[in-house]
Assembly symmetry: C2
Homo-oligomer: 338 residues x 2
């Protein structure tokens, strides 16, 4: 049996998350039972939602248990199998967590999915053709529901969700404006991801001046907004949203560290007859097949070329995760384990 290194949650953050909240442990992988497979993880996905689970607070998911391996999406290869549906060498995506190997009961529906890497690279199943991509799809198609010519805005534009959002939005003939941090990300958004414009929020110290810059890029106002961030960016966007605008609320990263970020002008919800809707993509499994088919096509055809930030080795996962929370990543944050 190979030795399996794992990262567990050792203690909960007080305020900002710290490397000392995590601990690296090693154990033997157990013998397989009938129906189980052993997956060697090639990539681990790091995602902002994980920060919320580190708190012991009311949220959409159970808190991450202390002394247990951190949860998270993984792609890898079956290296031992007691399940004929997943023979040795099968490439799979699952929720293996922050560890080098995972033992999975592959008879459970949805526990493991075999993927085809002929046209789509394995790591993309954690990003553009995985949970982040489907997240963009759900918010765009089922909440914003745009028509051609609408102006759509997304924050964290060069992240995994924002990248997929741009490709899906352009495929629907919408003007697509991103918000990102720094000139390099904004240039990449326009040059590589297909955004019509991208605003660097780091140039602005208050919502009003950021709002003016976004307004200049949205001469017809904003019909749909995909919120990955919250805080100042949301307060800057809200006054620009047209009547009957739709706001898909997917992330509020600005508030995860325990400092609540207020919404400055909730009366706009009434005055402009807006719809705001929060969602978690794992509660809408019915859209995944349709979404993955479109996203896979966009990646295979080169229309969605999402960037990845890749940390090397499990021991570097905590630092990469803390960087993600500060916006240091550029594109989908992964940890390469092989």
């Amino acid at each position: 049996m190979p030795v399996n290194r794992q990262i567990q949650l050792d203690n909960r953050p007080k305020g900002e998350a710290q490397a000392s909240n995590f601990v690296l442990v090693s154990s033997e992988t157990p013998a397989l039972k009938d129906g189980e497979v052993l997956v060697r993880h090639h990539f681990l996905s790091l995602d902002p939602y994980m920060r919320g689970r580190m708190n012991d607070a009311k949220s959409y998911a159970q808190p991450q248990a202390l002394g247990q391996t951190m949860g998270g999406g993984t792609v890898g290869e079956v290296v031992e199998s007691h399940n004929p549906q997943f023979p040795l060498g099968t490439q799979v995506v699952g929720m293996g967590g922050w560890q080098e190997y995972g033992v999975v009961n592959a008879t459970l529906p949805g526990a493991l999915r075999a993927v085809d890497t002929r046209h789509v690279p394995l790591s993309a199943y954690l990003g553009a053709v995985g949970m982040p991509g489907v997240t963009a799809y759900y918010g765009l198609v089922h909440i914003i529901a745009p028509k051609a010519g609408d102006t759509l805005v997304v924050s964290a534009a060069t992240g995994a969700v924002g990248s997929a959002f741009a490709a899906l939005s352009k495929a629907r003939a919408c003007r697509t404006v991103g918000i990102a941090g720094g000139p390099e990300k904004c240039k990449y958004a326009v040059d590589e991801l297909g955004f019509d414009a991208c605003i660097d929020y780091k140039l602005f110290s208050d919502a009003a001046s950021l709002s003016a810059a976004i307004a200049a890029a949205c001469p017809k106002g904003i019909d749909g907004y995909f919120e990955n961030v919250g805080g100042m960016v949301l307060n800057a966007v809200l006054p620009l949203v047209n009547p009957f605008g739709r706001i898909a609320v997917c992330g509020m990263i600005a508030g995860y560290n325990g400092v609540p970020i207020v919404l400055n002008q909730p009366a706009l919800i009434l005055m402009q007859r807006l719809k705001l809707e929060g969602f978690i993509v794992s509660e809408h499994m019915e859209v995944w097949p349709t979404a993955l088919a479109e996203l896979g096509g966009l990646v295979a055809s080169g229309k969605l070329r999402a960037r990845e930030s890749i940390a090397q080795g499990l021991e570097n996962a905590p630092e990469a995760f803390l960087g993600l929370l500060k916006g240091k990543n550029f594109g989908k944050q992964l940890v390469k384990l092989v």
Copy 2:
């Protein structure tokens, strides 16, 4: 031709609205053209939305023009007719404004509607069986969309919208909790309007203590909230809303005076996957016939006994309106003109 007294908007409020914003003028009613009728107004409706129109600001409706008669709903009787569809003596509801008589081109669709007062009193067509009733219906049926057993909460519970909301909510077997100002209103809400409980927000000076009181009346949490008020009440309710809760945003009266009231915890929209939707009932005319049929039935059968606050005489309309903005009314605020 009778002399027609009118109240016009003379100047716009700076901060709180004042009686000095209005001016009373008199004029002759003009001679009727073909298709027109002269309506003697029996009742004028006063509604919170009128405050928003007094500002010259971005909102869902054109601002009320200066030097023009204030707009508003009216019921009355046709006293002169050049339109065979509306003979003398017809009782009608329309948008006659703050004046004693109105000249209406009754050939325009929707300008005037004849009403039947055999089972429903004339004034009710401005309240329970009018715009406020349909407002409650739209928010309840089309945004909150409850199932039997859900817990629903409404602010301004004894107002025209809140009263209708209670009857419609109880008809759908929902636990129905009101929020109102003062012990008299709260007693009335439970004894006469059918609320299961009603919380007096005036007993609490902050959102947290108000929230605790609402929580005690909602042991299963809140599935739907109908927002008539905004401000502290919304901040008190939001943390109690269950996953997938729906919030119909109909009023933000607390912010009309120019002081923006922030939303304290927008991250709850994501964490609890909430839907907030602002609406204006006049943009959903398709629901009016169905809504009015149900509301008329509830009034005729005595299940909806909405209270009215009636000011006497057009000259008292401004003061009654300012009182409404401060919550001094008890039930639907009307001005009796005959």
